[in-house]
Symmetry: C2
Subunit: 206 residues, 2 copies
């Protein structure tokens, strides 16, 4: 039987493109493509151009490397924010997560990744040099290292600490401890150990 796969090259091509996306297998890709096939032409064009336009026209803030439609992003351009406190994050997703907490009023520095020798990502692939330049200009009071608690995160933290240590800057990391809503019984011992080591004064308002 000659017809074992897709009845159309165009269909096969679209499915192949969709299944390149992370977490999307061939079956899901086919479902998504067939869904789009059933949509009006203009909607499908809007879908296609939304992503190509984003890729073509996206800018990164020239100060913090966050994604931005303008030369300087809204956060860096905001005079009400504390420009002497810089939170170092891996990606724009982390900026969005921290912003959503509404607990932070400083600015950010987006590394664009994390040191990961396994994936061939070294310090030179990340926006580390601009951070050192900023530190050298003497305008920073505090750098908050807000990276993942993985081996790669710890490696990157250590690398940044070594680079920033010679400046007169307060280097902090986000608190590690038991998540809110977690039961102690199910908390891993490293987290629990750290949470006891770094215990904080009791605050009845929290």
């Amino acid at each position: 039987m000659s017809y074992t796969n897709f009845p159309s090259k165009l269909l096969e091509n679209a499915v192949a493109e969709f299944s390149k996306l992370p977490g999307i297998g061939r079956k899901t890709a086919l479902r998504l493509v067939l869904h789009l096939l059933n949509q009006p032409k203009e909607d499908v064009h809007k879908f296609g151009s939304s992503i190509t336009q984003l890729r073509d026209e996206i800018k990164h803030c020239s100060s913090c490397y966050n994604i931005s439609d303008t030369e300087i992003c809204d956060i860096c351009a905001n005079p009400k924010r504390d420009h002497e406190t810089i939170c170092v994050v891996e990606s724009i997703r982390d900026v969005m997560s921290i912003e959503r907490t509404q607990q932070y009023n400083g600015i950010y520095h987006v590394l664009g990744g994390i040191i990961s020798p396994m994936d061939g990502i070294g310090p030179s692939d990340l926006q580390i040099d601009p951070l050192i330049v900023k530190a050298n200009e003497g305008k920073m009071k505090e750098v908050i290292l807000a990276l993942s608690t993985t081996m790669e995160g710890d490696t990157t933290n250590f690398y940044l600490y070594k680079k920033l240590n010679k400046f007169n800057i307060n280097i902090t990391t986000i608190a590690r401890g038991v998540s809110i809503g977690d039961e102690l019984e199910y908390t891993d011992e490293i987290t629990l150990g750290r949470s006891i080591l770094h215990r904080t004064p009791f605050d009845q308002n929290l």
Copy 2:
């Protein structure tokens, strides 16, 4: 804080488009969009055009309504296939599933949906009339109704049966029964009941 959502309209737009896809929420959409942002420009353009091109240029076989790059699909154009046996399916996905079994040598008729009053889909929204026309031409010996075993599938089966019954055509449905690999204990009683009612002679070769 003014910045509660996306740092870029372009990004927000792309995420909104992706989250229109079935089963894709805002978080997954953001992950997919950020993944595409990290890809080379030409790859993103290939992705975008694969789907718009498909939507613009896709053809349906003028005989069976299967998706096809040509006026008549490969299956309908194949002289080795039995053109007097027509398998009625809901969508092109079902054609692909049945073809994969390599057990069927007839041709297909793709309805393009299923009668579903809840979703506002009636017989006139489906390719039912062309099937009746084909039946009327007297070239069919057998129509196999291969629709889902849902209420909508049964409704559509019944509607098609009423329409096709007046012609001298053998109307069959795919066998219902216990799936291969299933344990009887966990099979629902309707399926089990039908499988006993429609028992078949034992064949030691199967």
